[in-house]
């Protein structure tokens, strides 16, 4: 019996889908069976970021409608065989989702995978509500900026009122990933500090991901950045995936500007 995690953000463009792809791969690299489900119906992206766009035969809507079973629709990742992927439908829209069908899909996936990760659409409409409805936990992805924080706050509020678990009197675990942190800007005060973000959102910190130009290229290539051992964002996602798999990984402080040998040398000549 696996765990169902919804990746949410409220605001679009903060890195939800990128985080989903990288965490899924990271979890698979830890030897756990993981399936990623794209819930952004009508605007699917996850297939591209995983580099699997040309392998999609059946999508998750067809699975829900009973036109295909999970085995037929689940696409195995090229990078790791533990990672499977269910694409969203690109031709339909989110009105095709209904609670009973989503519940069944999620329950079926839980049977055969350790981790079921649902990539929520941006916004807080019905598509989002269906994504979070049957999730056991949520990962909230934010950027260190006020608009992202407020939207995430709203999304958490909806999660806390609409999730099936909450309606049963239980609590949905919520974890925060702060994405695209620029250490220099945090130090100069231009970017929100993670303590401030945590104070506003009041949920547990799962990890911090630094800004990394390599992410865009990795997405374009369909090779998630976690595969690049040198990438700082990739390393951050590895640490987070480790934490999700129950390892004790210390929180690395990426909000302090890099003081490598060259910077130290430069400092000496000031």
């Amino acid at each position: 019996m696996g765990i169902v995690i919804a990746v949410i953000s409220g605001k679009g463009g903060v890195g939800k889908t990128t985080a989903t792809a990288n965490l899924g791969l990271g979890i698979a690299m830890n030897g756990k069976k993981c399936v990623l489900v794209d819930f952004d119906i009508g605007q699917r992206n996850l297939d591209m970021i995983l580099g699997l766009e040309n392998r999609v035969v059946y999508d998750m809507v067809q699975v829900m409608e009973g036109e295909a079973n999970i085995k037929q629709a689940a696409i195995k990742s090229k990078a790791n065989e533990n990672l499977h992927f269910l694409a969203a439908s690109q031709t339909k829209d989110k009105s095709v989702l209904d609670s009973a069908k989503v519940e069944k899909l999620v329950a079926d996936l839980k049977e055969s995978y350790d981790f079921v990760i649902l990539d929520a659409p941006a916004g807080i409409e019905s598509g989002y509500e269906h994504t979070i409805e049957f999730a056991d936990a949520a990962i909230v992805v934010v950027n260190p900026e006020v608009s992202s924080i407020r939207d995430a706050d709203r999304a958490i509020g909806i999660l806390d009122s609409k999730s099936a678990k909450v309606k049963n009197g239980e609590e949905v675990a919520k974890y925060l990933i702060i994405n695209r942190i620029v250490a220099d800007m945090v130090e100069s005060g231009e970017m929100l500090k993670s303590e401030d973000i945590l104070e506003i959102l009041n949920i547990k910190l799962l990890g911090k991901v630094p800004e990394d130009k390599g992410v865009i290229d990795a997405s374009n290539q369909g090779k998630p950045v976690i595969l690049d051992k040198k990438s700082i964002a990739g390393q951050a996602y590895s640490r987070i995936a480790g934490r999700l798999c129950g390892q004790k990984v210390d929180m690395k402080d990426i909000e302090v500007a890099d003081t490598g040998v060259f910077k130290k040398l430069a400092g000496m000549f000031k």
Binding site: I124, V146, D151, D153, R154, G157, N202
Partner: protein, 209 residues
């Protein structure tokens, strides 16, 4: 030159009512018998005789060599005292004052009010948590929020109590309150003679827990 230095206790006063003065010394004689009595202003023969009879040492109309004037000393003492006692005393006064203005149905909440949430409270609300940006709270009664407010507040009660909240949108009886006027700790916002008065209530942070 031979000399000695003493510290003397001085009782300084001016006489307005002679009989009262004598009554006072009659009853407090033991307390003041070793004091130097300084009478500022006019002193009648009666008083002089009285003091001589009582064997009290006295001076009339002298400027005592004091480091600070008595007034300054008193002020300073008072100031310190006030500073120390202020939070307790004021809190108590505040509570007494406010208790008469409280409405009946008080709601107490200790949960974060997240963005998008709208609370409509009939009666008073005591909120022990944050109000995030994008959240709205309306109360028909009084409103006390002990943590920072970044959302909107509409209060129609007799008073509000808020901490400094630079990002908040605060409306008290349809009048927008300038949040620059809110100081660090709790502030009381109320109507007095058709004017909104904001008073900082506490100098020290109170621990509500």
């Amino acid at each position: 030159m031979k000399s000695k230095q003493y510290s003397v206790k001085v009782y300084e006063t001016t006489i307005t009512d002679e009989s009262k003065f004598m009554d006072f010394f009659d009853s407090n004689y033991t307390l003041f018998k070793d004091h130097l009595i300084v009478i500022q202003g006019t002193m009648s023969k009666t008083i002089e005789n009285y003091l001589v009879n009582k064997k009290l040492k006295y001076l009339n109309d002298v400027v005592l060599p004091k480091g600070r004037t008595r007034k300054a000393l008193e002020d300073e003492l008072n100031f310190e005292k006030v500073d120390i006692a202020v939070s307790q005393q004021i809190t108590q006064n505040e509570l007494e004052r406010l208790s008469t203005q409280l409405q009946n149905n008080l709601t107490v909440m200790d949960e974060m009010i997240r963005s998008g949430r709208e609370l409509n409270i009939q009666g008073d609300l005591l909120l022990l948590n944050r109000v995030n940006s994008g959240a709205t709270i309306k109360t028909t009664g009084n409103l006390i929020i002990t943590k920072v407010v970044e959302g909107s507040i509409r209060c129609y009660g007799n008073f509000m109590m808020l901490t400094a909240s630079p990002k908040a949108n605060i409306v008290f009886h349809n009048v927008e309150v300038d949040n620059n006027l809110l100081e660090e700790r709790l502030n009381r916002v109320e109507f007095t003679n058709n004017e909104i008065i904001i008073t900082p209530v506490l100098k020290k942070e109170i621990n509500w827990a």
